[in-house]
């Protein structure tokens, strides 16, 4: 089966500074793939390219056999890629429920709706009328994930879900991953926490200064290999 | 590889020479100008000088200080009125009263900034306009300076016309040179670099220990001084002042047009802009409303399509810079080694 999402020689720039130097990346349907790397390695930039927030060349990103690089974010979400952004970035002027409803703005059909989300994360139902930013960090992360799921994507991109959260909360959030993947959702997880990344994913890509420095099955890579790739030694 | 700090470009050295020649020509104008034309030329120059100084100050404030103000006319008029009051009522020599008026405007900027700095961005701009309106209404209610219909500068009566015109012209020339020098020196100094840092990224500048608020106040006061100077000079030449003329928002409107067309944030921008403005007003001002309409459209088009102004666009295309305020790092040519 061809990969659902593919990047081929992906380059990206912030103004004059180059952030990505030819990334090759493949994602099969139903997989959970982790992207690890130090700060500034280009992980977030990579996700932003996939979702259209950072300009990419048309032929560098492929979704279901269609070249989508550089398309407007609105067109990409309509084709089925959703992002849970780094730092949550909920809308402060909107309540929890309104934030979730915004996720459905693109109008894609699918299994995810408010009801199903409240089964996944009950807190979303309990606090649905509260201003979104009045929730705790972990709860906000659930809202952010829920908001992305509301667009019924086929590919879910998660940028640093564990950022600023306590270990027990991180575990709670990642425990929900199987339920999200139950219907064949494909997930990319960007993480600084290597142990968690290896645990939840089938394959791992390691980024280092804008390049893929290591790539393989999560279970097979040794700590030493990862360290070297992570730090570029 | 050694690196040398280069402060001037070839174009700037040429420009400096050209500027000095122009200055020499201008200073001796009364001597070589054709009979009958000298008076009108000098009068025009005084007017252009005021527009130029005002535009330069607006450019300093907006382009370098990051503060867009639609209320600089408050200081223009304030400087004018103080000059007139000192001349008419306090017996001060009006020519001396011009810099005094500028100083008064600078001092006035302190309480004004207290109010204005409570607003940001677009609302700061309109807020300064409101303050200017308050100042205008206040002066319109002062009967000692003629209230709403204004009054004349009587202190120069008794001086021969030619002498007065020459002296005013000389004063204008001095003011222009002083203003250009002031701005240029200010921006090339350490203060100036700090200002550029603030303009580029205020938060980062603050974290580097730069006193952002203090710098902004300094720029605001300097700009007020300049606008007050322009105002005092203008009414010295005009001999008659009124609240509507002194505090008209058109001063700021024209300054915006000049700076936008010439390019914001560059020293030479206002100079180019004022030349374009003056040339166009000579040819088209007979068309009144159409002329102003055209200016408005031009400003809109230039802002949207030529973000760096016409001069800035030229600069980018040909790499020219008359008043370099950047410091360029120039790698020294390594000596050939075998």
């Amino acid at each position: 089966m061809p990969p659902v999402l593919k990047a081929h020689g992906l380059t990206a720039f912030y103004g004059d500074a180059q952030a990505l130097f030819g990334i090759d990346f493949e994602l099969d349907r139903g997989e959970v793939v982790a992207v690890i790397g130090a700060n500034g390695a280009g992980k977030s930039t990579f996700l932003k390219c996939l979702v259209g927030l950072v300009r990419a060349q048309r032929e560098h990103v492929w979704l279901d056999g269609e070249a989508i690089g550089g398309l407007h974010p609105g067109e990409i979400v309509r084709r089925g890629i959703a992002l849970v952004p780094e730092g949550r970035r909920l809308f402060p002027s909107l309540s929890v429920e309104e934030n979730l409803r915004m996720g459905a703005f693109a109008g894609r059909a699918g299994p995810w709706n408010l009801e199903r989300l409240s089964k996944l994360f009950p807190i979303l139902q309990q606090k649905r009328r509260s201003p979104a930013t009045s929730l705790s960090g972990g709860q906000q992360q659930m809202v952010a994930i829920g908001r992305a799921l509301m667009s019924n994507p086929s590919v879910l991109l998660c940028d640093e879900l564990s950022l600023g959260l306590a270990p027990i909360v991180i575990k709670e959030i990642y425990d929900a991953l199987p339920a999200i993947c139950a219907e064949g959702m494909t997930v990319v997880v960007v993480e600084q926490d290597v142990v968690t990344a290896q645990r939840v994913s089938r394959r791992v890509y390691c980024f280092q200064e804008g390049r893929v420095s290591l790539h393989g099955r999560s279970g097979e890579l040794t700590r030493e290999q990862i360290s070297r790739a992570y730090f570029g030694l | 590889m050694a690196v040398r700090l280069k402060r001037s470009t070839r174009a700037s050295r040429v420009g400096l020479l050209a500027g000095l020649l122009l200055l020499a020509a201008a200073a001796t104008l009364p001597a070589w100008a054709p009979e009958g034309a000298a008076s009108s030329w000098m009068h025009q120059f005084v007017e252009v000088a005021c527009y130029l100084i005002f535009a330069m100050m607006w450019n300093l404030l907006a382009g370098y200080g990051g503060m867009v103000s639609i209320g600089q006319q408050a200081f223009f008029g304030f400087g004018g009125y103080v000059m007139l009051v000192l001349g008419n009522l306090a017996g001060v020599n009006p020519f001396l009263a011009v810099p005094l008026g500028a100083l008064a405007a600078a001092v006035f900027a302190l309480p004004v900034s207290y109010l204005a700095f409570r607003l940001q961005g677009g609302y700061f701009a309109i807020g300064t306009w409101v303050i200017a309106e308050v100042v205008r209404l206040s002066f319109a209610n002062l009967t000692v300076v003629g209230g709403g219909s204004g009054t004349s500068l009587t202190a120069l009566r008794g001086i021969e016309k030619a002498t007065r015109e020459n002296a005013t012209y000389g004063m204008a020339l001095a003011c222009v040179v002083a203003s250009i020098a002031l701005v240029y020196v200010f921006l090339r100094s350490k203060r100036g670099l700090a200002l550029l840092a603030i303009r580029d990224n205020e938060v980062a500048a603050e974290s580097q220990g730069i006193d952002v608020r203090g710098m902004k106040l300094a720029v605001y006061v300097v700009a007020a001084f300049g606008c007050g100077l322009a105002g005092a000079l203008y009414f010295l030449g005009n001999l008659r002042i009124s609240p509507d003329a002194a505090f008209s928002v058109n001063w700021t409107a024209f300054a915006i047009f000049m700076v936008v067309i010439g390019g914001i944030g560059r020293i030479e921008g206002p100079i180019v802009g004022v030349l374009v403005f003056w040339a166009s007003s000579r040819f088209f001002s007979d068309y009144g409303t159409w002329y102003l309409l055209g200016l408005g459209l031009l400003a809109i088009v230039v802002t949207i399509f030529f973000k760096q102004g016409l001069w800035g666009w030229l600069q980018q295309r040909h790499g020219l810079s008359l008043f370099p305020t950047q410091r360029r790092l120039d790698p020294e040519e390594p000596h050939a080694q075998h």
Binding site: L83, F91, S93, R101 | L119, A125, E133, A299, T303, I304
Partner: protein, 297 residues
């Protein structure tokens, strides 16, 4: 004495209603896209003159009486909506960004263009809309207070408009889009929202209010091509006094401005507007965030 005071206050409130209509559009545009429209007042004057011209070609007041202007307004509304949409889409969208200068210069340029265009077409003479006496009719309330019918209609429209905007923002999908795009444009776009269209709809809505304000102003008093800047100042003062980010706050700010101006006017006719300026400066000193600011989470 009490009667005189209440009369002044009532008149101030009625005047404030008009100021609210001036200010709501500005509040909306600034709230959604941080755009300061320095041509706000001039667009109000433009719509007033458009209405005046429209009235000249509609069947005379003899047929529809005092309600003709409102018919004219109804015809003008879709035109204003479309105009605002195009203005934002074609001209103003390109000026948005971190730097406030481009939008300020462009709207200021528009202000100059509109004023001079109107001067060219209509000359400097003040004009107004024939209301067949509606603008002088008044009703006497219990207690001896006289309330003008037209000003009362204006105030009522202002309250309706404020409530309408509040509902639009809080209960509708478009309102959610407005709030989201103003919070975080990037993230709103990855939800599928087209910010350019949302901004254009915001401005289109603001222009509905501008049209209403223009027509009512021309019914209430005379308008001249150079009136724009003063109306802008009133709108702006109302927004600052009331507090940014809140439509009800803008309404209250406008009412307070109206009352302050009327009080000043009563003391001395030359002090009306001046008193409003002083009140604005006072609020700026004492409570710069305004009386009812909306705090962001």
């Amino acid at each position: 004495m009490l009667e005189a005071v209440s009369q002044v206050i009532v008149q101030g409130l009625l005047l404030g209603g008009l100021y609210a209509l001036f200010a709501l559009g500005q509040s909306l545009m600034f709230g959604v896209m941080r755009l300061t429209n320095t041509a706000q007042g001039d667009f109000i004057v433009l719509s007033a003159f458009a209405a005046i011209s429209l009235m000249a070609i509609l069947p005379g007041p003899a047929i529809a009486g005092a309600w003709l202007p409102f018919l004219g307004l109804a015809l003008l509304l879709p035109v204003a909506f479309g105009f605002g949409y195009l203005l934002q889409r074609v001209v103003l969208n390109g000026t948005l960004g971190r730097d406030p200068l481009p939008s300020l210069v462009v709207t200021f340029g528009l202000s100059i263009v509109i004023q001079n265009l109107l001067l060219q077409v209509y000359s400097a003479d003040p004009r107004s809309i024939d209301t067949a006496g509606l603008n002088t009719r008044s009703v006497e309330l219990p207690g001896g207070l006289a309330v003008g019918v037209l000003p009362a209609i204006v105030l009522a429209l202002a309250v309706v408009a404020t409530a309408g905007l509040q509902l639009l923002f809080e209960r509708t999908r478009l309102g959610r889009a407005f709030r989201a795009v103003s919070d975080d444009r990037e993230i709103a776009e990855i939800m599928g929202l087209d910010a350019r269209k949302v901004y254009a709809l915001a401005t289109a809505t603001a222009f509905l209010l501008i049209a209403v304000a223009g027509v009512l102003q021309a019914m209430r008093t005379t308008v001249a091509p150079s009136d724009g800047p003063l109306l802008l100042l009133f709108a702006f003062e109302a927004v600052i006094i009331g507090g940014m980010g809140s439509f009800w706050g803008t309404l209250v700010g406008a009412l307070l401005l109206g009352v302050t101006q009327q009080v000043g006017f009563r003391i001395d006719p030359g002090w009306g507007i001046w008193a409003g300026h002083i009140a604005f400066l006072g609020v700026l000193v004492v409570r710069p965030q305004g009386l009812f600011p909306k705090t962001r989470g």
